[in-house]
Amino acid sequence: MERRDFIATLGAAAAASAVPLRAASAAPASGRITLLHTNDTHSHIEPFGPGNGTLTGRGGVARRATLIKQLRAATGASLLLDAGDTFQGTPYFNLYKGRLDYRLMRMMGYDATTLGNHDFDNGVDMLVAAMESMEAMNHPNAPFAFINCNFDFKGAPHLAKRMRPYMVREFPGVKVGITGVGVAFAGLVSPQNHVGVGWRDPYESLRPVVKHLRETEKVDLVVVLSHLGYQMDGAYDDLRLPAHVPGVDAVIGGHTHTFLDVPTRLPQALGETLVFQVGFGGVNLGRMDFAVTRGEVRASGGTSMPVES
């Protein structure tokens, strides 16, 4: 049965039985979304100076701002995302303690980021101070979101109230769910710098969040901001994530400073996951476009499936 006919049938039936059927809404049946993204920008506010090999002369936030503006004007629905490690790497961080980095991200129109290990380099209080500085600025762009679902922030209330496990953004014909995961602190972050913040298994943390986004929030596209690393010795990395967490459409990765020209496509139980990472230091901006076609309306269980045949 053609989708349109089916909707019409259902609509008539719903009216007859006076039971509203949410699924037969007027939302557009298809849409497009462009994800623009960075990772491991590491306070590289200015372009790389001489002596940096192939990176010399690349990067710089004033250029990145221009590129983002041009792309967003050309693409329509878009999200600007980052995979963490905004802090540490140039004197800008030593002098401005990450506050300038976050303020510039808000000015560029970032929608969300996650936390990398280096974002804890000055401790939790300084991280919160950088977030506060970004939130307090007077700018037409809204403050961006900080997303992570595998850190336990219970012991760090000021940070906890600025973090969320996921967010949902709706565009015409596309509803996007975004969540995030971070790398284990052991051996990377001094204990005194993550006081009150615990780490949990990222796959186990992601599974219920992805399920919630798909089944309750009913998003069309699930995006994970990951600071696990592209390929690691341990059990957790972006290449292994899709097999452990089905239902993720895109992983925007960081941590390993991996330069990929195009995303790595990995099959998973519910389709395909695109794993991407674009180097570090803001020398590249990643772009992933997705076209979403919403599926046919069907009952979620029971014996009434013949309507589909």
Binding site: T66, Y92, G286
Partner: protein, 265 residues
């Protein structure tokens, strides 16, 4: 029509939408380079911050006519040797006693020192972290174990005060560690060791450093002792030159076995 008859039943079930079909379109990594003009608003906002950076970090420090480099894989990390020497000397000065050994991690050195006039910012780029120089006591056996852990973890980490040689075959390797003057290390002797609070705290997987006794915090960041050393050289009319190579003698077949995690020392 059949479906009309089953609708009352259907309506009692949760209506749901099949997963959307998602298709990736254009995917690319776009270079951010000089072909893209600066956003004027952003550039204007940044200007005063950049000026302040330039004023404090653009200060000339010392001349380094040869530069100091971390070395490509297989080459010695002469920058790392200099950093280890510098922390060892600063630690000895801080406690007024000899410090036999210093150890740092290559991963913590984030840039090379280019040839020519160094500026304050160059040292910040090498060592952006706020790591503090700490002094601990280890036995001679533990010093050798720290060297071994660095070898297996990263192929040999920057250190000062010892000579390290791997010989034999990759199947039957022999590790020889002596003091820098070639004298044997007494495994039972307690010596002072300089490292960073990061490594002492378990960072970068050198577990034996955590066994350190009688911790002394110097209150000096590793970066500060590097800045102080450069300033002292310049004040004395000297240049910053790389230390001599030869601290690690690890033939290529062993380096390969280490990379493949096949070497047991």
């Amino acid at each position: 029509m059949r479906s009309l008859f089953i609708v009352p039943l259907l309506a009692t079930l949760a209506a749901a939408q099949a997963p959307a079909k998602v298709k990736a379109g254009l995917v690319q990594s776009i270079p951010v380079d000089g072909s893209i003009p600066d956003d004027p608003v952003m550039a204007a906002y940044l200007a005063p911050y950049a000026a302040k950076i330039k004023a404090s970090f653009g200060q000339p420090l010392v001349k380094a006519p040869l530069g100091l480099f971390r070395g490509r894989p297989g080459e010695e990390n002469l920058l790392g040797y200099w950093v280890a020497d510098t922390m060892r000397a600063a630690a000895a000065k801080a406690i007024g006693m000899p410090v036999a050994f210093a150890f740092t991690n290559s991963g913590g050195l984030r840039a090379n020192l280019r040839r020519g006039q160094l500026k304050v910012e160059d040292i910040y780029e090498v060592m952006p972290f706020e790591n503090e120089v700490v002094i601990i006591e280890l036995t001679g056996a533990e010093v050798i174990q720290v060297v071994r852990e660095g070898l297996l973890h990263r192929g040999g980490e920057p250190c000062s005060g010892v000579l390290v040689k791997v010989s034999g075959t990759p199947e039957n390797p022999i590790l020889t560690v002596t003091w820098a003057d070639g004298k044997p290390i007494d495994p039972t002797a307690l010596v002072h060791v300089a490292t960073t609070d990061y490594l002492y705290g378990g960072g970068d997987s050198i577990p034996t450093l955590r066994k350190g006794r009688n911790l002394v915090r110097t209150g000096l960041t590793l970066r500060q002792v590097m800045l102080d050393r450069c300033a002292a050289l310049d004040k004395a009319g000297k240049e910053l030159l790389p230390p001599a190579p030869g601290r690690y003698q690890v033939p290529p077949e062993f380096r390969e076995a280490i990379r493949e995690k096949k070497l047991s020392l």
